[in-house]
């Protein structure tokens, strides 16, 4: 009897001890503060306000995933080396994940591909490829813009396309679509592209010169940077010009509200930030492909209930 009972007792005691240790460990784990993960949002350009929507979306998702987002801007618009050095710095400083708005898709994309950092990253708004890029479809946005111009401008028109910042893959795609013969929205299209010498000067002056020298009905800016440069060039020029574009900066929205811009294709950067953080931190969302929405907003529709929620960062 005793000899039969003893192994059972030893087994029972072992199991009980294992159970108690497991539960104690579980209690210890549940008591332990989970470390806050650091997400670096590395963007191009030096104006943090330009990225307000993106940052808000990223921060909201990060709050749910026990993470913090740090917005890192550059000192210039398109210095790929600077952006790469920022990426390296953030990795060295212990960032757990990266959201990158690439200033130069090829340079930064190539760096990320070859260096393959051991932390998750995703390109937002501007980058390379499709799988690891969260942005609205550039082709569709450009096509929608062309269609809007075509609908709004019924007469014979001459359109100038600002061909700048083409080192960003998205901008290049948009320009390609706008130049496709199948896409009918203008009777004459001209490209305003700076040569190497002019690239050393401010784009604002180049655009002022073009606006002054060449009579066009419509000027189209295909990205935020070009739009802001165009706005800077136009504001004090006192020239009647119709501006269309793809942009989502506060400045662009302001001039849309003030009717300098006639229509804007507005990409939902809040969603990009939100989904971007989920994609790099939430294991369940890592492999999902999200579609980012965009809206074409005319200057009369800025205060429509649906649009104002999209255009204006909620709390200022």
């Amino acid at each position: 009897m005793k000899s039969r009972l003893r192994p059972m007792l030893i087994l029972a005691v072992t199991l009980a001890l294992a159970l108690i240790m497991e539960l104690t460990y579980y209690m210890y784990l549940s008591n332990r503060e989970e470390p806050i993960r650091q997400v670096s949002l590395i963007v191009y350009g030096s104006d943090p306000a330009r990225w307000e929507n993106l940052r808000q979306g990223a921060e909201l998702a990060a709050a749910d995933l026990h993470a913090e987002v740090t917005l890192i801007t550059m000192s210039s618009e398109d210095d790929a080396l600077e952006q790469i050095s920022l990426i390296e710095r953030e990795i060295t400083n212990g960032a757990d994940a990266l959201l990158i708005a690439a200033c130069d898709s090829e340079a930064v994309g190539s760096y990320m591909q070859h260096e393959t950092p051991k932390i998750p990253y995703v390109f937002v708004e501007s980058g390379t490829g499709d799988e690891n890029l969260l942005a609205a479809s550039d082709e569709q946005m450009a096509a929608s813009l062309a269609q809007t111009i075509d609908e709004n401008e019924k007469d014979w028109i001459k359109v100038a396309l600002i061909a700048d910042h083409l080192e960003r893959e998205g901008v290049k795609k948009r320009l390609e679509v706008m130049q496709t013969p199948d896409v009918k929205y203008a009777d004459e299209i001209v490209l305003w592209e700076r040569n190497e010498q002019e690239k050393n000067k401010k784009a604002q002056f180049f655009l002022q010169r073009e606006l002054t020298e060449e009579a066009v009905d419509v000027v189209v800016a295909l990205d935020n940077s070009s739009m802001e440069e165009l706005l800077d060039a136009t504001v004090n020029l006192n020239k009647d010009i119709k501006i269309y574009g793809i942009a989502n900066s506060n400045k662009s929205v302001y001039y849309l509200d003030n009717r300098l811009i006639k229509s804007l294709v507005y990409e939902d950067e809040f969603s990009i930030g939100y989904l971007g953080v989920q994609k790099i931190l939430d294991e369940k969302k890592m492999d999902t492909q999200e579609t980012i929405r965009y809206e074409v907003v005319g200057h009369d529709a800025v205060y429509e209930a649906g649009y104002q929620k999209l255009l204006f960062p909620h709390v200022r």
Binding site: I20, Y26, L60, K251, Y303, Q308, L310, F312
Partner: protein, 606 residues
């Protein structure tokens, strides 16, 4: 299913019945204790968790009360701004002569942390004044705006809009303000005439946002604000909801009365507490996932399980220890009785120990065993003595016919003047009787036994008129060894009676030592015996009827086995028409040794 269950239950019952008393006590007490503890634990835990949940809901309600109070205060402040300006300024002044601006600036300055602007417009949308002073935005039609329409619609009420971006004045630095517009219809006096207008107080939405964001700093759940139609005014994930990234059950929540509710939304069970803010009809909604309400219970649950596990094992070990102390004497008594049961009567002692009842039981059984052992010893001794006396009586018997025939032969010899033969026969008979008596000893030397056998053969030869021949060959080494007396003579008797048939009959006696034992063979060349007769010869108590000494082979065999035990005794080989050999198997015990041991015993007895 039921049959299986019954079988399982029956199996458990059977197994349980077969277990030892210690196991039954341990398991039963443990099961009862564990059952009690689990019931108690579950009851206490249920009560505790229910209480924790109630407390969490009460806390949420208190938080909601506080937010409601803050929001009410804020709204009343804004309403009082509107009331003050309307009743103290607009009602008292004629706008054609007086300016409202100074009083409006004063009100704005006093409340500028909570509001964005104050404006007064005429019924046709003309701006009378605004504070802070700003340029009216070009192309903006005030009459088309929601706040204006609401005020025009219900002139007696103060109206609150949902949050929207202010679109009244020119902004600088791309600044836009999210506001909640408080508007009311006012009566303006101009040149003594009353005309309609609208007073607008644009509340700073940031103030509301800050009020709620503080509450939403709590770790689980959140609080949001919606108007009476379910339109969200504030939500910690407002922009994500607008973008369709997050869903909220706000429209369904409009149907909830003030108080606590439980709902399942997107597969998550949530505790929802609703509080309506007076006048505006806005609803403050607190949402907490039900599992988060009991978040603090997880540790309590773990701790309870640990304590319960430890307690169960303490109880189990306690029960095993106590039951062992109680049942150990019973077990040991059972073991000693079990040995007894197995027929081991040499058990030294029946266990006597434990409580006085078990000791009494042990003593009683011990006494019974001793009595039983004595009775059995007596019985065995009695049986043995009886049998020995019976065998002794048998061996002492001499068939009267043998004596009569021998004496008749002697008479016949004397009448025929064969005195020498008569003397030899009488001498042999006398020697036969002398050895037969042997001073009452059962054990004699092989030499004496052979002398006895030889005398018997001599007598029989006389009687049978030398019809057979006999040879006796005994090894010298065994002559002084022990044998039971009168064991060869019955074999010779059988050999003569069954083996002597004609003049060629021969009887041979051989004695020798083999493998440390003694063998004496008595062989004849008579007709032999069938196999079936051989089989029964040593098993049945057969006798030679009317002839011989009457001491059969069975008797001889029994006597040898009785004295020497073991494998000793007789064996018979016989073949029809060939003859029969009966072999006596004896242990080799020197007679002197036997005598010494007998003397020792005798000495001890005396």
């Amino acid at each position: 299913m039921k049959i299986r269950f019954d079988q399982f239950f029956t199996q458990i019952k059977r197994t349980y019945k077969q277990r030892s008393i210690q196991l039954i006590i341990s398991l039963s007490f443990t099961a009862i204790a564990v059952f009690g503890m689990v019931i108690l634990g579950v009851a206490l835990y249920s009560q505790f968790s229910a209480r924790v949940r109630e407390n969490a809901i009460e806390n949420d309600q208190q938080v909601l009360e506080q937010v409601s109070w803050n929001l009410n205060t804020y709204i009343r402040n804004m309403m009082s701004v509107s009331d003050s300006f309307y009743y103290s300024v607009i009602k008292k002044k004629d706008m054609s002569k007086d300016s409202f601006l100074e009083e409006m600036d004063l009100l704005y300055e006093a409340n500028k942390d909570n509001l964005i602007s104050i404006a007064c417009v005429t019924e046709d949308g003309a701006l009378i004044c605004a504070s802070p002073v700003a340029n009216r935005k070009e192309g903006v039609d005030f009459c088309a705006q929601e706040w204006f329409k609401n005020a025009e619609e219900k002139i007696a009420d103060i109206h609150f809009s949902t949050p929207h971006v202010q679109n009244l004045f020119e902004n600088s630095n791309y600044r836009y303000y999210w506001v909640v517009s408080l508007s009311r219809s006012v009566e303006l006096t101009s040149l003594g005439n009353i005309r309609k207008g609208v007073l607008l107080v644009d509340m700073n939405f940031s103030a509301i946002e800050q009020m709620f964001s503080k509450v939403n700093e709590k770790t689980s759940g959140y609080v949001y604000l919606m108007d009476r139609n379910g339109e969200i005014i504030y939500h910690p994930k407002q922009k994500a909801i607008y973008s369709g990234l997050v869903q909220e059950n706000n429209l369904a929540s409009t149907a909830y009365e003030d108080g606590a509710h439980t709902e399942v939304f997107n597969g998550v069970e949530r505790s929802v507490i609703v509080k309506t803010v007076g006048y505006t009809g806005w609803k403050i909604v607190s949402v907490t996932p039900t599992k988060d309400l009991a978040l603090s219970l997880t540790q309590t649950r773990m701790f309870s399980i640990i304590i319960l596990t430890i307690t169960i094992f303490l109880v189990l070990f306690g029960n095993i220890f106590i039951s062992s102390r109680v049942t150990d004497p019973l077990r040991r008594l059972d073991e000693s009785v079990r040995k007894l049961e197995e027929g081991n009567l040499d058990v030294d002692q029946i266990y006597i120990g434990g409580s006085h009842e078990i000791m009494h039981l042990g003593r009683t059984i011990d006494s019974m065993v001793k009595q039983m052992r004595k009775l059995m010893d007596d019985m065995v001794k009695e049986q043995r003595d009886k049998r020995r006396s019976e065998l002794d009586a048998l061996q002492s018997q001499i068939n009267p016919h043998f004596l009569y025939n021998t004496l008749d032969s002697v008479v016949w010899m004397i009448e025929s003047n064969r005195y020498k033969d008569a003397i030899t026969t009488v001498t042999a008979l006398a020697t036969l009787f002398r050895i037969s008596l042997s001073r009452g000893d059962n054990i004699i030397t092989i030499r004496d036994e052979i002398v006895h056998a030889q005398n018997y053969l001599n007598i029989q030869k006389v009687r049978y008129k030398n019809k057979f021949e006999s040879t006796i060959e005994i090894d010298k080494e065994i002559e002084e060894c022990c044998t039971i007396k009168l064991i060869v003579q019955p074999l010779l008797e059988n050999a003569i009676y069954y083996g002597v048939m004609d003049e060629d009959s021969r009887i041979t006696v051989k004695g020798y030592e083999k493998d440390g034992d003694i063998y004496i063979e008595v062989s004849d060349n008579g007709m032999g015996m069938p196999e079936e007769a051989l089989e029964n010869l040593l098993k049945e108590k057969t006798k030679t009827r009317g002839r011989g000494s009457g001491i059969g082979l069975w008797n001889v065999n029994q006597r040898i086995q009785l004295y020497f035990k073991g494998d000793y005794g007789l064996s018979i080989q016989s073949e029809l028409d060939e003859g029969t050999t009966v072999t006596i198997h004896l242990p080799k015990i020197p007679y002197a040794e036997y005598k010494n041991s007998q003397e020792k015993k005798g000495g001890e007895r005396s």
